[in-house]
Symmetry: C2
Subunit: 148 residues, 2 copies
């Protein structure tokens, strides 16, 4: 479990901003790193390391860069159930996954504050759903089975 002290989220809106942030920290901007950022920002959903590597890039480098970018706070990964970790540009987004059909619901900043408050009331924990999401049945899978 490589925990590696992750900095506070650094929400860069574009690839260019992200690259500037890297430069500002004295970090190098290699071709692989730039391509990785472009793939991350172009994606409509969180992607696995394998998807991000595609045909061209080396998986080990992709993992190393993802770890680096995550330490800087530019990237986050989420575990949508079993399966590989999925990576996306840092954002306050949180998730719920249906363990029956795999549907993913994504929440904007603050939408789950009520849930957070309920958890705090129950046990005092300050929880988030950006890394480990809510897991359960989505409304349609939760509906009673139609009588055949």
């Amino acid at each position: 479990m490589t925990v590696a002290h992750v900095s506070a989220p650094l929400h860069a809106p574009t690839v260019a901003t992200a690259i500037s942030a890297l430069r500002a920290r004295g970090m190098r901007v290699s071709a692989a790193r730039r391509l990785l950022l472009e793939a991350l920002y172009a994606a409509a959903r969180p992607l696995s390391a394998e998807e991000l590597a595609g045909e061209w890039a080396d998986l080990a480098s992709v993992y190393r860069n993802l770890e680096t970018l995550e330490e800087v706070g530019l990237v986050r990964h989420v575990h949508l159930g079993h399966g590989p970790g999925l990576y996306a540009p840092a954002s306050p987004r949180e998730y719920a996954v249906c363990d029956a059909c795999g549907a993913v619901h994504s929440f904007a900043d603050g939408e789950l504050d009520g849930v957070r408050a309920a958890v705090r009331a129950a046990c005092g924990y300050a929880v988030g759903f950006g890394h480990f999401p809510l897991v359960g049945r989505c409304p349609s899978c939760d509906a009673p089975e139609p009588v055949a």
Copy 2:
């Protein structure tokens, strides 16, 4: 992701009850299976397959039996953060884990109903925290760092 249709939880209070339940379903009760159940019921917390196998038993058999027992509904596994899956006798217990210190808070049946209601209000999902727990900071880790 071997999903394997898991039956409704079958809450057997003791090893003997669990074994009867197996027999009632026409399932065989081997030495390995009995030992596995004894280890599960003796444990004060969820255990990994490796811990359950110990020195004597074969890991593959342990995994196969855990899967079987889970299908029957006698056993559940929970993912407390990264690391291996952890197994325990079926129960309505739910969990919260601290991602800073690893502390595990366990909830009795119904204790998280308020949280469940808040989630349902937010997105309609019917969630549970017995398989994928709540993850965040426990009260002590969440407290402001003491000024050195």
